[in-house]
């Protein structure tokens, strides 16, 4: 009996001493915690708040009742979305646009970085590299505007050239078969320079003795690129590939919003542009949230999948 009491006392004592410890820790860090309060509020309101707000996808959102008091409807919006004709079209468009962006967009910065590295004239190299960042400083509106100007059927330089070599002018921006090409090509133009930064840094980290040894052995420059630069870049390339493949479905919808029109919806409309139209333009908040959740889940699965595959293949993982 006494033993048990003692035991109990010890537990409460250790329990309370744990709380005392935590309290002391808080008290010691109180200034740091005060500094941290704005950050906590920000993350709760604007990062975790929307996560909680996702429940409206399972409700019929009513503006007057708010997120909490709107009626539950279960999976109604998801069912409507899966049954609608839009679903497969959006699915296909999202996958194709993401896939083509990766397929065409991924190799360019690597090639650019390797070619730039081969330049012996440092000033030329620096100039080209500096200029290549320029598009990263331009907004998506400006880039889209350039695309529209260059492709204009009346005055655009590309159509003038097409007419000059004797072909029919192409109405690029209302031609569904051209949309993906335009999207991917303008993306390459806009991102190649700054995507190459990472590869250039990786090349700079290659041990120069490797090149010296190869030179002593009479190795040609082409062979050095092929057997030293490229293999040394492989880990970086692999990591970047995993990241890019994982983000394949997070498509830059801002540019699509600026470049598409009803005539190209059939190829240009992706999940996020659909969410924008249904949710913010047609104020169909609950339905659009359901689509948004579906998109997020797909994107997350994609990220996890590429990660698992790469871990199985080469033991590399971004987690």
């Amino acid at each position: 009996m006494q033993q048990a009491n003692l035991e109990q006392a010890r537990i409460t004592k250790s329990e309370s001493s744990r709380w005392i410890k935590i309290w002391r820790h808080i008290k010691r860090d109180r200034q740091l915690l005060i500094l941290f309060i704005p950050c906590i509020i920000f993350y709760i309101l604007f990062r975790y708040g929307p996560l909680y707000g996702m429940i409206i996808a399972f409700k019929d959102y009513n503006v007057f009742r708010g997120i909490l008091d709107s009626n539950w409807v279960g999976l109604k919006h998801f069912r409507n979305f899966f049954d609608s004709a839009d679903f497969w079209l959006l699915f296909k468009n999202t996958i194709l646009l993401g896939f083509y962006s990766l397929l065409w967009g991924f190799p360019f910065p690597i090639i650019f970085a390797i070619l730039l590295n081969e330049v012996r004239f440092i000033k030329f190299k620096k100039t080209v590299q500096t200029l290549s960042y320029l598009p990263a400083f331009l907004s998506v509106v400006i880039i889209s505007s350039m695309v529209i100007d260059f492709l204009s059927p009346n005055r655009g330089l590309i159509n003038q050239f097409i007419a000059w070599i004797g072909f029919e002018k192409i109405y690029f921006l209302i031609a569904p078969e051209w949309f993906r090409t335009i999207y991917v090509a303008s993306d390459i133009w806009a991102t190649m320079g700054y995507a190459a930064i990472i590869y250039l840094a990786a090349i700079a980290g290659i041990n120069p003795t490797l090149y010296e040894a190869a030179r002593v052995d009479g190795c040609r420059r082409w062979h050095m690129m092929r057997y030293i630069t490229l293999p040394s870049l492989m880990p970086t390339i692999l990591i970047m590939f995993i990241i890019n493949a994982g983000n394949m479905f997070r498509i830059g919808y801002e540019k699509i919003l600026l470049l598409y029109n009803p005539m190209t919806y059939e190829v240009a409309d992706v999940f996020s542009t659909y969410v924008y139209r249904k949710g913010l333009l047609e104020t169909n908040y609950s339905y659009a949230s359901a689509v948004g959740i579906f998109e997020a889940v797909i994107a997350l699965i994609m990220l996890a999948l590429t990660n698992v595959i790469s871990r199985k293949m080469g033991g590399r993982s971004i987690w």
Partner: protein, 288 residues
């Protein structure tokens, strides 16, 4: 050397190729500037190629005499200035407790913050939160909901962590408070890192169009990028109709004049900024 002679062909091709890339990168910007200074006849006939034809500044006079663009310019300056300031202040302060190894709940906070990079509520729930906070159609909707970018917070946190601890320790011995340490020691010593992340915040605000477009309804509050978007849609509509326009001033000239004055601050900081920019990309990639 044996190799040298054989290299030359490759070097020539490579130089030509890279020169072409450099030209292709810069040319659209030069084209915009040329169009903005050209006269209507040359633009309509599609004669402008590299320099302005029939040089004039009518487009600039026109857009600057109307209310729309100057007002949008002031709005952009206001949103960018206040926005970047809030971003930097929030990030600089929030990164400090996180950089302290013994900070209460550090692990929990870190996990909670990093998780938001993978899970977010998405466009609509975020919009509804901003709406319920009564921020729609105010500057706060622009500057508050993205007050901290998680990636920049992590970059600054690791910068703080790599700083020498001895200064902080001597300040502690002198009895300085945490506030004092942060504002008088840590932040002044972090200027290069703050400049780097500040650049990203600045560019983010100056170039942002989607956020102001969805949160602002009042045309008078539009920043430049949203005004530009309206001009762009007008230009596209005009193209699809393919009508001969009878406006005395080509809409292209007005649009490209607006683009050019929008780009001026960016082009001015660009030579200095690109150094920080490359560094920032590298730091970000190490974290991501």
């Amino acid at each position: 050397m044996v190799g040298e002679k054989r290299l030359s062909l490759f070097s020539i091709v490579n130089t030509i190729l890279l020169t072409f890339i450099a030209i292709a990168t810069v040319y659209p910007v030069l084209y915009i500037i040329a169009i903005s200074f050209s006269d209507t006849a040359s633009i309509v006939q599609g004669k402008v190629f590299l320099w302005p034809l029939g040089f004039n500044i009518d487009a600039y006079v026109q857009i600057l005499s109307e209310d729309r663009v100057p007002r949008a310019y002031l709005n952009t300056i206001l949103y960018t200035g206040l926005g970047t300031f809030i971003n930097l202040a929030m990030t600089a302060i929030a990164a400090y407790p996180l950089s302290r190894v013994t900070f209460f709940g550090r692990k929990f906070f870190m996990i909670a913050i990093v998780l938001t990079m993978f899970f977010n509520g998405g466009m609509i729930p975020t919009y509804l939160i901003v709406q319920q906070l009564g921020m729609i159609d105010t500057i706060w909707a622009i500057v508050i909901p993205n007050a901290i970018w998680t990636i920049e917070l992590l970059i600054l946190k690791s910068f703080y962590e790599n700083m020498s601890d001895s200064l902080r320790e001597s300040a502690v011995i002198d009895g300085a408070s945490e506030y004092r340490i942060l504002f008088s020691i840590i932040i002044p010593l972090s200027k290069p890192a703050l400049a780097s992340i500040g650049l990203f915040y600045f560019m983010g605000h100056w170039n942002s169009f989607f956020i102001p477009m969805i949160y602002l309804n009042d045309v008078n509050k539009y920043p430049l990028q949203v005004v530009l978007r309206d001009m762009l849609i007008f230009a596209t509509a005009e193209q699809t109709n393919s009508l001969v326009d009878r406006v005395t001033l080509a809409p292209e000239a007005m649009k490209n004049a607006t683009i050019f004055i929008t780009m001026i601050p960016v082009l001015m900081i660009y030579p200095f900024a690109q150094k920080y920019f490359a560094k920032g990309v590298m730091l970000g990639s190490e974290k991501g």
